[in-house]
Assembly symmetry: C2
Homo-oligomer: 359 residues x 2
C-alpha cells in the first residue's frame, strides 16, 4: 500500500510514478512501457509538430488503454535582438574557427513551441488523462479549455511561491522540482538559479504551502529516493534520468555513454544549449562557454549556434558540444527495460518503506 | 526502533541526531541540551582559544555525563598576498565611503584556527566521544593521536569521492553534506560549488560508496527530513539551522529575525564573509559584493574587511553585511528549546517511518 492514494485517484494509475517527459529524448515507446506497467507515461510535445503529436499519441492509444500524459512548454517566445545574436556568434567564433565552420551556416534553433491554440485543440481532441506544463501555465483561456476537456493539469514549481501560484491558477497536482533535477528548470517566477532549493529542502516546504498533491522530482533514481519522497510528504514522484538508461529512450550513444560515467558532481546548470538553465553533464561547452553565459540569447534560440559545433564534434564521437541532459543521480541508474524499471521502482520503494518501520 | 543502530553504537547515544557544530553560533549550552536529551551535542572549537575550549568542555562535562562532540577546521591556512588585500579593499571601498569608514581601520579577520598540535593535545586531554572535522582531515600524525585516544572521528563529504577519501583516511562515520546545508561547505577535493549535489542525490551515492555509517546533512529540519534520510540509507542526521531557532543558540537578534523570514529560495552560497563558500540568507553583501566574488581573499581572511561594515549596519538594526548563515529549510523550523526540539525530531521521525509502512 502506498502512503498516499491521492495521485493514483487523480491520474487513475496503479503506481505513483511519473516518467518525466524529456523533449528530444523520449517518444511514444517509453510512455507506453511506463503506462502499461501502471505508472504514468509522458509524451513530450514541445519539439514535435502537430502531425507528429497526433501520430505519437495515436501509437500510445493503440498500444495501451491506460492513462498517459502530454507535456507542453509555456515559455514566452522571445526573438533575440540582432545585438544578442551578434554577441553570441562572437562568443562562439573561436570554436567555429577551430572546426572550420562558417558562421553564416547557422540554421534556426530546434523548435520548442509554446502551448498555443493549435496544441490546445490537439489536447481537446486526444483528451489525455493528464496535461503537464513546464515554465508555468498556458494562457488562462487555453487552460480553461484543457480543464473543461476533463484533462488533469500539472506543472513544475521550483519554490514554494511558484507552487502556491500554480495551485491558485488551477493545477490539480504540483511537481516540486528540486535543484538536482536534470534538464530545464521549470522556474517561472524567478530566474535566479543560485538560490534554487534542493529536493530535500524544497519538497516539505511545497507540501506545507499547498493543498493539492505534490509530486517530487530531482535526484530520485531508485526505490530509496521514492521512499524518501513519501517521507517528505510527496504523493508520488517524477523520474527522468533513470529512464534515459532504458532502451526506450531516444538518445544518442554519445549521451548514453556520458550518462554511464557521470559522477554525482559532474553535472551543472547551464544556459548555453537553449538560453534557459538546464542541468546536463559537464563538457567542453559548459566549461568553456558556460556554464551560465551572459551572451546566450533567449530561450530557445541559443541552441541554433551550437548545432553545427555539436554535429562536427559528434561526427568524431565526441559530446563536447552536445546537451547531455542529466540529473545529479545518474550513477544510481541501471540499464533496464522501462517497464521492468517501473516495476522495480515500485517494489523497491514499498520494501524500503516497510524496512523503515521495522516491519 | 531506528532502522539503523550503527551510529547509536559508535557514538554511545540514544538518538541518531547530531546537533551541527556552528562556529560562532553555539557553545556549551546547546551541546548540553542536545546530549542530555540523548542526541550528540557538538562544541565548535575553530573560533575559540584553547582556554575557551577547555572551559566550555568543562561546563559540558559538569552538566552532562553523556557523549558529546568537538569540532575543528582542517583548512590550509593561507596568507593573502598584498595584491589580494588591495583588490578586496578596492572592491569594498564604495561601502566604506557610504558608511564613512576608514579602510585603515580594518582589524584582522575573526580567527578560524586549523587543527594543530595544541588542539590535538586538548582532544587527548578532554577525550570527547567524537571529534568532528570540517574541510577534510588533520595531518595524519595528529589524526593518529586522536584515534589512539579512543575518540571517534567524523568529517563531511560533499561528493562520493570525498566520502571514499575520508573512509580510506580513517573516518569512523561520514557526514554527507548536501547543497542545501547552511554555513561552510566541507568540500576539500574540489572547490566547484556549481556542481555540488543536493542531499537527495548525494546521500544514496555516498551510502553506496563507503562501508562506514553515513550521516545526512543539508535541508533537514523536521521529522520528515529525518525519515527521508533513513529512507536514503543514512544511519543518522546532522541538523544545524533548526537549532539556531532555540534559545541556546548564540546568535544576534538580527540573525534570528532573518531566519524567521527566510523563504526556501532566499539563501545563497557566498564567499564574501570568509573566503570559502558558505550558505547564508541573501542580503546586501551577497547581492552587491557576491554571492561569489573573485576578489575575496583566501579563507578565513575575507571576513576582516566586512567586519566594520557589519558593525555599522548592525548598529542601525540591519543585517546587510552580516553572515546570516542558514540552510534552505529555515521555514520548517520552530522556536523551541533545544532539548524539546531533539525529542520532537526523534518522535516525529519515528512516527513518520511507521506511517510510511502503513502500520
Amino acid at each position: 500500500m502506498w502512503p498516499s492514494q491521492k495521485l493514483l485517484d487523480l491520474f487513475q494509475v496503479e503506481l505513483p510514478i511519473i516518467q518525466a517527459p524529456m523533449a528530444g529524448a523520449n517518444g511514444s515507446a517509453l510512455a507506453i512501457a511506463v503506462s502499461e506497467t501502471g505508472g504514468l507515461g509522458s509524451l513530450p510535445c514541445a519539439m514535435l509538430s502537430e502531425d507528429q503529436i497526433r501520430a505519437e499519441a495515436g501509437i500510445i492509444r493503440q498500444q495501451t488503454a491506460k492513462p498517459f500524459s502530454m507535456n507542453f512548454f509555456c515559455h514566452t517566445a522571445v526573438t533575440p535582438t540582432p545585438e544578442q545574436e551578434a554577441n553570441w556568434a562572437s562568443r562562439l567564433a573561436p570554436f567555429y574557427k577551430e572546426f572550420g565552420l562558417d558562421p553564416s551556416e547557422i540554421a534556426p534553433a530546434p523548435a520548442r513551441r509554446t502551448f498555443d491554440e493549435g496544441m490546445c485543440e490537439l489536447v481537446e481532441e486526444i483528451k489525455p488523462q493528464v496535461a503537464s506544463f513546464h515554465f508555468g501555465l498556458p494562457d488562462p483561456s487555453l487552460l480553461a479549455r484543457v480543464k473543461a476537456a476533463g484533462v488533469r493539469v500539472i506543472s513544475s514549481a521550483t519554490t514554494a511561491a511558484e507552487a502556491r501560484w500554480l495551485e491558485t491558477n488551477g493545477c490539480d497536482a504540483i511537481i516540486a522540482q528540486g535543484y538536482e533535477a536534470g534538464g530545464h528548470r521549470g522556474m517561472f517566477l524567478s530566474g535566479d538559479i543560485t538560490a534554487q532549493p534542493g529536493t530535500m529542502a524544497l519538497l516539505p516546504q511545497v507540501v506545507d504551502a499547498v493543498k493539492v498533491p505534490v509530486i517530487a522530482a530531482g535526484g530520485i533514481a531508485d526505490g530509496r529516493g521514492i521512499a524518501a519522497a513519501f517521507a517528505l510528504g510527496a504523493a508520488g514522484v517524477q523520474i527522468g534520468t533513470a529512464y534515459l538508461f532504458t532502451p526506450q529512450a531516444l538518445i544518442t550513444d554519445i549521451h548514453r555513454a556520458a550518462l554511464h560515467h557521470a559522477k554525482d558532481n559532474e553535472t551543472v546548470l547551464t544556459n548555453v544549449f537553449s538560453g534557459k538553465p538546464a542541468r546536463g553533464i559537464i563538457n567542453r561547452a559548459t566549461r568553456e562557454v558556460g556554464p551560465i553565459s551572459g551572451d546566450a540569447p533567449p530561450f530557445p534560440t541559443a541552441g541554433a549556434a551550437l548545432t553545427p559545433l555539436k554535429a562536427k564534434a559528434e561526427a568524431t564521437g565526441s559530446g563536447d558540444f552536445t546537451s547531455l541532459w542529466s540529473g545529479q543521480a545518474a550513477s544510481l541508474a541501471r540499464d533496464m527495460d522501462a517497464g521492468d524499471l517501473t516495476r522495480t521502482f515500485a517494489s523497491d520503494a514499498l520494501q524500503r518503506m516497510k524496512q523503515l518501520a521495522g516491519t
